[in-house]
């Protein structure tokens, strides 16, 4: 299912939690929603899942609009809210049955589907407990199970892996990747490596606006711009910096703090200094003991865009 978000705005008084954002998510795409706290991630997800109506703008799932056919949209969405609220006094199986019935599933398929979800989310050992007796990780699994029980075409997961241990995180990521092949998935997270590992595309949102949209590699490239190298050259000091700067491709040279004979070399746009630095060392008979390209990490991209 194609999710189309058009000029979506949510204002609380004069403050705009989400400010005129537009994007599209295609079937089979797993999109990660990144942003600092209070950037508007959850608000956007709440509007897509028809919990809140936007002040302005529209969200469409294929032809269905949240304004005109919320029921049709809700049927097709599996939503895991931020703090994973659940009926704590209900036993897991009963709760899953309730969710399945309320989503309008056929009675004959419900039992089988509950069984599948218990299997898929690893709830087998705990399945007869009440939700209130579960640990946080298991509750999160119940949250995921209830979101997926009616086999929705769209999954909206607000921080799906909070509270899970590393093994579970890896399992859930695998699961999301698997689901993402046929379904449309939008998930939010604070953990950048997670988004990088699971998502085909990343949306970074800050102060209610989308500030970046692309795959993790394109985002890194865009942020990087110029090549950055760390080199260690053993020679008499002072001269090195001067000579490096004379190279045609080099833009700036900074000695690295606390590390003797280390330099950070930034190249001019669209040029590489690797070879010329090496050639220079050969010519001057310096020892080049290290040369590393610095890759911009997603963390840096994130910090740059949201600070």
């Amino acid at each position: 299912m194609l999710i189309t978000v058009e000029n979506l705005t949510k204002a609380y008084g004069p403050q705009k939690a989400v400010n005129n954002i537009s994007f599209e998510i295609k079937t089979g795409e797993v999109v990660g929603f990144l942003g600092p706290n209070g950037a508007g991630k959850s608000t956007t997800m709440k509007m897509i899942s028809c919990y809140m109506t936007p002040t302005n703008g529209d969200v469409k799932l294929d032809q269905y609009s949240i304004h005109a056919e919320p029921e049709e949209i809700k049927k097709r969405i599996g939503y895991l809210p931020e703090n994973n609220p659940l009926y704590t006094e209900m036993p897991i199986l009963e709760y899953l049955r309730f969710t399945a019935e309320i989503q309008g599933m056929e009675k004959s398929r419900i039992s089988e589907r509950i069984h599948e979800m218990v299997e898929l989310c690893g709830l087998d050992i705990e399945k007869h407990k009440k939700i209130g007796e579960l640990s946080k990780g298991y509750r999160q699994r119940v949250g995921l199970a209830q979101a997926m029980i009616h086999d929705p075409e769209v999954l909206i997961l607000d921080e799906p892996t909070t509270g899970l241990d590393p093994n579970q995180i890896i399992e859930i990521r695998k699961l999301i990747k698997k689901l993402g092949k046929e379904k449309t998935v939008l998930l939010s997270s604070h953990i950048l490596s997670e988004v990088e590992a699971t998502c085909d595309r990343i949306l970074i949102i800050n102060k209610g606006r989308i500030v970046a949209d692309g795959t993790s590699s394109t985002l890194r490239q865009e942020a990087q711009g110029q090549e950055l190298l760390t080199v260690q050259i053993e020679a008499e000091n002072g001269e090195v910096k001067k000579e490096l700067l004379k190279l045609a491709s080099v833009a700036t040279v900074e000695p690295v703090e606390d590390k003797e004979s280390f330099f950070r070399v930034q190249s001019k746009p669209e040029s590489s200094s690797r070879k010329s630095v090496f050639d220079l060392c050969v010519k001057k008979k310096w020892y080049l003991t290290e040369m590393t390209g610095i890759e911009t990490r997603l963390e840096d991209v994130f910090r740059e865009l949201t600070n």
Partner: protein
């Protein structure tokens, strides 16, 4: 319709899971039983095979306390724990949520009332009872309860605090239960008539005498629909926040 039933079933089961149902039924039966059989002008004092004291006094006042206590958590708790977000993003409308909760509470009250059938059986052994009057009385209690439940659910939609919801519900119900009646005594003419029409007691009395008047039914149904509609509006409020 099936969605309403699903919500009703869950809500009803949660009354029993959380022990509210047991506490409330014991409280209701204890209080109404005490007032009917032991307190003051009880059945034995009257010396007639008549359950008037149950319908006019014991059940009338027990339900007044019982119902807001049953409905106080219906929406307040969902708002507080955030489960309302989960519920309203499922394929149900706010109206179905409200009506589902209403039916669950009504079911519990009806069970409470069914538990008082032994009173009827006991009294019918003691002498000739007015069967029509008693059936009318039970109908009256069901309509009265339904009206109060809908008010109670509205009160519960106003806050995320159950105690506040209880007190608010009790306060609003008190107007219909007593205050409008007292006011109707102190005014004459049209104003007095309006207050008399608003008083639950006047409508309840005529139904429990076995007189089915369309005006009484319209009154009860209006109160029920009004309470439920306002509760639904409060639920949908998240949508019209500017």
């Amino acid at each position: 319709m099936s969605k309403i039933w699903t919500i009703c079933k869950r809500e009803f089961a949660s009354y029993f899971d959380s022990l509210i149902a047991y506490v409330m039924l014991i409280f209701f039966l204890g209080l109404s039983g005490y007032l009917t059989w032991l307190f003051g002008n009880n059945v034995f004092m009257i010396g007639q095979a008549d359950l008037g004291v149950f319908f006019d006094f014991a059940a009338y006042w027990s339900l007044f306390l019982f119902i807001p206590a049953v409905t106080m958590q219906s929406l307040a708790e969902e708002t507080k724990s955030g489960t309302i977000e989960l519920l309203s993003t499922k394929a149900v409308s706010d109206w179905e949520i409200v009506v589902g909760k209403f039916s669950a509470a009504l079911l519990l009250v009806i069970i409470g009332l069914l538990c008082t059938l032994p009173y009827y059986i006991t009294v019918s052994f003691l002498g000739d009872v007015d069967h029509g009057g008693i059936i009318g009385g039970y109908f009256g209690l069901v309509f009265l309860s339904a009206s109060y439940i809908s008010i109670g659910i509205f009160a519960s939609s106003l806050t995320s605090n159950q105690i506040v919801a209880f007190l608010l519900g009790l306060l609003i119900i008190l107007f219909f239960h007593l205050i409008f009646m007292l006011l109707s005594f102190s005014f004459t003419g049209v104003v007095g008539g309006v207050f008399n029409f608003l008083s639950m007691k006047s409508h309840y009395d005529s139904i429990s005498r076995g007189v089915f008047d369309s005006r009484d039914l319209i009154f009860f149904i209006t109160i029920i629909l009004l309470g439920l509609t306002m509760a639904q509006a409060m639920l949908s409020k998240r949508n019209w926040q500017a």
